[in-house]
C-alpha cells in the first residue's frame, strides 16, 4: 500500500515537472521584459550571426568589450552554420534574437513579413549615427519606406586568382578585363600551365555573375514577377562562357565540385587539388573573401584580386552591402539594441578588433582610422574597393524577390547541365527564362 502511494506521488511529480518544463521559457520572457523596462536594471540582449571562425572570435570579443563598458547590459552571442533554417524557425516562434545578421537576398522578405524593426526613428534621433555614411550605402537597407538593416561592410564581386602561378607563366592581369581578355587568359593559362578555369558555379556566385551579364545590357535579373529580360538571347552570354570553356577544354571538370563544398575557400580549386588538371587559376568570389582565400593558400602562393570580366565595367559593377545588422520586431529593448548596432558601426576601438572582416566599414571615419592597423591582405581589399571598384560602379539592383534562393538553385542546376554538355548555351538560356518566370510568377 505504501509503495503504491509513493509510486503515485512520483508519477504525479514527473508529470508536473514535464508540464512545468513546457511553461518555463514563457515565464523567463516576461521576467526580462519587466527588468528591461525599469532604468538601470540588468538588460539582456541576444545577437545572432554566421561566419568563419575568425568572425566568431572577433565578434565575441567586441561583445565582451561592450559589456565591460556597459555593465548593466548582458549580450548573449550565438552563431550558426545552419543559419537560415534556424532564423526561419526563430521568426515563426517570435523568438528571434534581438540583433541579427542579414543579407540582401533575405532581408526584404523578413522586412515585408513584419519580423524586423524599422530603424528610421533611431537614425533620425541619432542613436544610430549615420552622419559619416554615404547615402547610397545607407539606402541599401531600405525596403519600401523604412530602413530595416544597417549595412555593416561593403564588398564587391571580385575575381580572385593565383598571382604566383600567373607571374611564373609571365601572364599579367589588368583590372577591368573585357570578356575577350578573360577568355584569352583562360586559354593561355591552360596552354602554358595546364591549370583550368573555375567559373561562377564553383564559387556559388552565379547570381552576381548573371547580374553582371545582364546589367551591361541594361537589364536586371529580377524584374517585376518575372526574369527581367526581353528574350532568352540576353541570358545566353552567361552560358556561352561555360560552353566555350567546355569546347576548348579549359573549363574545370564539373564532377570535381560534387566532392567539395562549393563556395568554401579552403576547398576551392584555386588552393586545393592534386594536379593542375583538378585546379583553377581563378575563382569568382566577393572581395572580402580575399583574406580567407590567402590564408587557405599554400605557402608561397600569393592570391591576387581583380574585377569580374565585363565589356562595360562601369554599368556592370556595383558596391554591395556584404551584410546587414537588423533588429527583431519582437525585441524588448530596441533602444539598447540600436545602441549596440551604433557601437559596431561607429566605435573605433570596436572596429580595431573587427578589422573589416565583414567588409570595408561603411563609416568613412572608421574606415580611415583602422587603415593603419589592418594587415596587408585587408589593405589590398580596401584599396580594391576604394580605388578600383568605387570609381567604376553604378547603383545596386533593387531588393530581391522572396523566390531568389529558388532562382539561384535553378541557375545552378541549368549551369551544371551545360558543364556536363547536356544543354547548349541557347537551350539553357531558354530553359532558365521559362522556368525562372514560372517560379517568379509564384507557381
Amino acid at each position: 500500500m505504501k509503495k503504491r502511494v509513493i509510486a503515485c506521488v512520483l508519477a504525479l511529480a514527473m508529470t508536473a515537472g514535464l508540464l512545468g518544463g513546457c511553461g518555463s521559457s514563457g515565464a523567463s520572457d516576461t521576467d526580462s521584459q519587466t527588468t528591461g523596462d525599469s532604468n538601470g536594471d540588468q538588460i539582456d540582449l541576444s545577437m545572432f550571426w554566421w561566419g568563419s571562425q575568425l568572425r566568431n572570435e572577433r565578434t565575441q570579443e567586441v561583445l565582451d568589450m561592450y559589456m565591460e563598458d556597459n555593465p548593466n547590459v548582458t549580450i548573449e552571442g550565438q552563431f550558426s552554420d545552419d543559419y537560415w533554417t534556424r532564423m526561419a524557425t526563430f521568426a515563426a516562434g517570435h523568438t528571434m534574437p534581438d540583433v541579427v545578421q542579414m543579407v540582401y537576398a533575405y532581408m526584404p522578405q523578413y522586412a515585408r513579413e513584419g519580423t524586423l524593426l524599422d530603424l528610421t526613428p533611431y537614425i533620425e534621433d541619432g542613436t544610430i549615427d549615420m552622419s559619416n555614411v554615404n547615402e547610397e550605402i545607407l539606402n541599401t537597407g531600405k525596403v519600401e519606406d523604412g530602413i530595416y538593416g544597417i549595412c555593416n561592410g561593403i564588398n564587391a564581386s571580385a575575381l580572385l586568382y593565383n598571382k604566383t602561378l600567373l607571374d611564373d607563366a609571365g601572364i599579367e592581369i589588368k583590372d577591368y578585363m573585357t570578356m575577350d581578355d578573360f577568355i584569352n587568359i583562360c586559354r593561355e593559362v591552360y596552354e602554358k600551365t595546364g591549370y583550368k578555369t573555375s567559373l561562377s558555379y564553383g564559387a556559388m556566385t552565379s547570381e552576381s555573375y548573371m547580374q553582371f551579364v545582364l546589367r551591361v545590357q541594361g537589364k536586371t535579373l529580377y524584374g517585376d514577377g518575372a526574369i527581367g529580360v526581353d528574350s532568352a538571347d540576353q541570358l545566353e552570354p552567361f552560358f556561352d562562357l561555360y560552353e566555350t570553356g567546355l569546347e576548348e577544354g579549359w573549363l574545370l571538370d564539373p564532377s570535381l565540385y560534387v566532392e567539395r563544398v562549393r563556395g568554401q575557400v579552403e576547398q576551392d580549386p584555386i588552393v586545393y587539388g592534386s594536379s593542375p588538371e583538378t585546379m583553377s587559376w581563378c575563382g569568382f568570389y566577393a572581395s572580402n573573401q580575399l583574406t580567407s582565400m590567402q590564408s587557405a593558400a599554400p605557402e608561397g602562393v600569393e592570391i591576387g584580386i581583380t574585377t569580374f570580366p565585363s565589356d562595360d565595367i562601369e554599368t556592370a559593377e556595383w558596391l554591395n552591402p556584404s551584410q546587414f545588422f537588423s533588429i527583431s520586431a519582437d525585441c524588448e529593448n530596441p533602444d539598447e539594441a540600436a545602441k549596440l548596432i551604433n557601437y559596431l558601426i561607429n566605435d573605433i576601438d570596436c572596429n580595431n578588433v573587427l578589422l573589416g572582416e565583414r567588409g570595408v566599414p561603411i563609416s568613412s571615419v572608421v574606415s580611415e582610422a583602422i587603415s593603419e592597423n589592418i594587415s596587408e591582405d585587408d589593405q589590398k581589399v580596401v584599396t580594391f574597393i576604394n580605388d578600383v571598384v568605387t570609381p567604376k560602379s553604378s547603383a545596386i539592383d533593387p531588393p530581391y524577390p522572396d523566390q531568389s534562393s529558388e532562382i539561384v538553385s535553378l541557375l545552378d542546376s541549368i549551369t551544371e547541365k551545360v558543364m556536363y554538355g547536356e544543354l547548349t548555351a541557347q537551350d539553357a538560356a531558354e530553359q532558365f527564362l521559362e522556368e525562372g518566370n514560372a517560379i517568379l510568377a509564384g507557381n
Binding site: A7, A11, T15, A88, D253, Y257, V258
Partner: protein
C-alpha cells in the same frame, strides 16, 4: 477523501497516471504537430507569416514539379536496388557466423560496427572522401594497375551506386535479426534431413529459407520504409548532385521547406511520401500469404 483514495488506487487509474508522461509527450510532440502538418499541406506557408489556406494547390503543383518526379524515381530506384542486396548480404554473413565460436563472436561484432555508426554524418563524410577523385578507392585501383581516374561521385552513372553501396555495407541490424531466428530453427530438422540424405544446399533451400521467411518479411518491410525515407547519405555526400541524379525525396522536401521557405509545399510532399510508404507496405503485406511461412517450428 476516501473517495479520492479509492479512485487513485483503482488499478487502471494508477496505470493511466504512470503512462501519462509518455502520453503527454506523444500528444505534444507527435499528434499535434502531425495534425498541424496536415493543415499546412493545404496552405501557402512561408514560415515567416501566417499560413493561408489554398486547398489542393500544393498537390497540383507537385504534378508539374520536375524535381518531385525525379527525386521520387531516384528514391524508388535506390530502395528497390539497395534493400534486396542488403538483405542478401545480411543473410550470407549471418549464415557464416551462425556457429557460436569465439572468433565468430568477434566477427559478428566487427560486421555489426558499420550499423552502429549507421546513418551518422561521420560515415557519410568518410564515404565522400573514399570515393573522391583522389580518394582511397581510386588509389587502390591505381595500385592494382587501373590507369583511368574515375570520378565516382561526379559521374551521373556511378554516383547513386556509391550511395547504394554505403547502404548495403550497413547490413548489421538485419544480420542480427537473421542470426536470432537462425538459432531458433530446431537442430532436429537438420538431423532428420541428413538421415534422409539431403546435402547442405538442399537443407538450406528446404529448411532454412522457408523457416526464415517471416524474418525476411519483417526485415524487408523495415528496410523498404527506411530506404524510402533515406536522407543523410544524400544530404552529406552528394546534395543531390550531379544533375539531381542522387536527389532523394526527403532532401527535396528539406530544400523546399527550409531553403525556399515553402513549408506548405514541404508538408504536402511529406504526406504524399506517407501515402507512398503506406502503398509499399500494403503491397508487401498483400503478397505475404504467397510466400511467408506462418506456422510454428
Amino acid at each position: 477523501m476516501n473517495k479520492i483514495k479509492a479512485l487513485v488506487f483503482k488499478e487502471n487509474i494508477s496505470g493511466i497516471i504512470f503512462v501519462m508522461p509518455f502520453i503527454i509527450g506523444l500528444i505534444c510532440f507527435l499528434v499535434v504537430p502531425l495534425g498541424i502538418s496536415i493543415y499546412y499541406a493545404f496552405c501557402d506557408y512561408n514560415i515567416l507569416s501566417d499560413p493561408v489556406f489554398v486547398g489542393l494547390k500544393n498537390f497540383k503543383t507537385m504534378l508539374n514539379d520536375e524535381l518531385f518526379w525525379k527525386s521520387l524515381s531516384v528514391t524508388i530506384f535506390y530502395t528497390v536496388v539497395s534493400v534486396p542486396l542488403k538483405l542478401i548480404f545480411a543473410l550470407i554473413v549471418a549464415l557464416l557466423f551462425q556457429k557460436t565460436t569465439k572468433i565468430a563472436g568477434i566477427f559478428r561484432g566487427v560486421y555489426y560496427l558499420p550499423s552502429i555508426i549507421g546513418g551518422s554524418v561521420a560515415v557519410a563524410v568518410l564515404w565522400k572522401r573514399m570515393f573522391a577523385t583522389d580518394g582511397t578507392i581510386n588509389q587502390i585501383l591505381h595500385a592494382m594497375g587501373v590507369e583511368k581516374t574515375i570520378s565516382w561521385l561526379g559521374n551521373t552513372d556511378t554516383a547513386i551506386w556509391t550511395l547504394i553501396l554505403l547502404t548495403v555495407w550497413q547490413f548489421g541490424s538485419s544480420m542480427l535479426i537473421f542470426l536470432g531466428s537462425l538459432n531458433q530453427i530446431p537442430r532436429t530438422y537438420y538431423e532428420a534431413a541428413m538421415v534422409d540424405g539431403a546435402g547442405k544446399w538442399r537443407q538450406f533451400f528446404s529448411i532454412t529459407l522457408p523457416l526464415l521467411t517471416p524474418t525476411i518479411f519483417f526485415n524487408l518491410v523495415m528496410q523498404v520504409i527506411n530506404g524510402l525515407l533515406a536522407y543523410t547519405q544524400c544530404f552529406i555526400i552528394t546534395q543531390g548532385q550531379p544533375m539531381n541524379s542522387t536527389l532523394f525525396y526527403m532532401v527535396h522536401m528539406y530544400n523546399e521547406t527550409f531553403v525556399y521557405y515553402k513549408a506548405g509545399y514541404g508538408a504536402a510532399l511529406a504526406w504524399v511520401m506517407i501515402l507512398i510508404v503506406g502503398v509499399f507496405t500494403a503491397v508487401l503485406f498483400a503478397t505475404k500469404k504467397k510466400w511467408v511461412y506462418d506456422g510454428g517450428f
